[in-house]
């Protein structure tokens, strides 16, 4: 009986370790996977639920004010947001940042699409984000259609990736 208990304890510990290792090595959410649902409370207090945007293309961008390459990308994303006038939803998730600096950054980059802090880093953990910037383009069915690690190279690249999804 004693031996069984010891082996069971060891097995449980190994199982936990295996789960932890698997999660650590999973990498980002892959193309074709269902995008994890989340609620983003924007800096202005408004709440955005990803599930509410089913049937629309959604661009989820993870950024931070301390990220050097994020700002030029934010400007391109803003241009894309203005082009689609709400037909495509853009959500900025501010990762491990401070509110004062984040707001100053948004103002400086003239960003108007909804942005909010990643409270308790729950959204970035759900998307298994490894750094910023990272962007997930979600198709109308709610599946991840494209994952961009690092910044987009240009405004045209963003449009090029979104256009085919609008016609599906």
């Amino acid at each position: 009986m004693k031996k069984i208990l010891i082996w069971a304890g060891l097995a449980a510990l190994l199982l936990l370790l295996a789960i932890g290792l698997k999660r650590a090595q999973q990498g980002q959410i892959g193309v074709g996977e269902m995008a994890p649902d989340f609620t983003l409370t924007a800096f202005d207090g408004e709440e955005y639920h990803l599930a509410d945007f089913k049937g629309q293309v959604v661009v989820v961008n993870f950024w931070a004010s301390w990220c050097v390459t994020c700002k030029p990308e934010a400007e391109d994303l803003e241009s894309a947001w203005r082009k689609y006038q709400g037909d495509v939803i853009f959500l900025g998730v501010d990762y491990v940042d401070t509110e004062k600096e984040a707001k100053a950054y948004l103002e400086e980059a003239n960003v108007t699409y909804p942005n909010g802090p990643d409270k308790r880093t729950l959204i970035s953990q759900a998307y298994r984000v490894t750094g910023v910037p990272e962007t997930f383009i979600i198709d109308k069915s709610g599946k991840v259609a494209y994952v961009q690690i690092g910044p987009f190279r240009s405004y045209n690249e963003i449009i090029f990736l979104i256009e085919p999804l609008l016609n599906k």
Binding site: L13, L16, A64, S65, W66, V96, D97, T98, E101, P117, K119, R120, T121, L122, Q125, G131
Partner: protein
């Protein structure tokens, strides 16, 4: 003399009324937290961006901003616990150097001492078992000795044969 005292009273009363007329300019205490005050809290926090580097030793922009928040909160009169809770609310439990005792975090506190105790027990058992093992080894030595005893005549025979052969030559 009385007149003089009366004059003094008048002057003092005038000063009192004048002082009431002008509001006191009271400068609020503005405790500027020192770097040590900030680092006392920062060393208990870890920024998720810079893994395994405590906040007080981290030089990235994100960590500089975090230390700025600690300084601001201290200046506002927040306590150490309130500031730590603020960081937990904003960025999650993983920012704490010492995980709170809930959920799977218990394993962090239980597994290492349990593993240490298990190791100590195994060592204890290993130190005890050599007696039995020595006993076995002892019989082994006896066996070796007996086998050695058995082989001695064989060696004697071999030497005798060798000497005989040499003599024949």
């Amino acid at each position: 003399m009385k007149k003089f005292i009366k004059q003094i009273h008048v002057i003092l009363l005038s000063i009192m009324f004048l002082s009431l007329a002008f509001p006191h300019v009271v400068t609020a205490q503005d405790p500027t937290p020192s770097d040590d005050d900030v680092n006392d809290i920062a060393e208990q926090l870890y920024c998720p961006v810079c893994e395994n580097i405590p906040l007080d030793a981290c030089a990235t922009q994100a960590c500089v901003q975090w230390r700025g928040i600690i300084r601001d909160k201290l200046a506002e009169g927040w306590s150490e616990d309130e500031i730590k809770q603020y960081f937990v609310d904003q960025y999650g439990d993983r920012v704490l150097a010492e995980p709170p005792l809930r959920g799977l975090n218990w394993l962090v506190y239980i597994v290492p001492p349990a593993a240490f105790l298990a190791g100590a027990y195994m060592l204890y058992r290993n130190f005890r078992t050599p007696k039995a093992a020595n006993g076995k080894q002892g019989t082994g030595h006896k066996q070796d000795a007996s086998s050695k005893a058995k082989t001695e005549p064989e060696i004697d025979n071999y030497i005798a044969k060798l000497e005989e052969e040499l003599r024949n030559r």
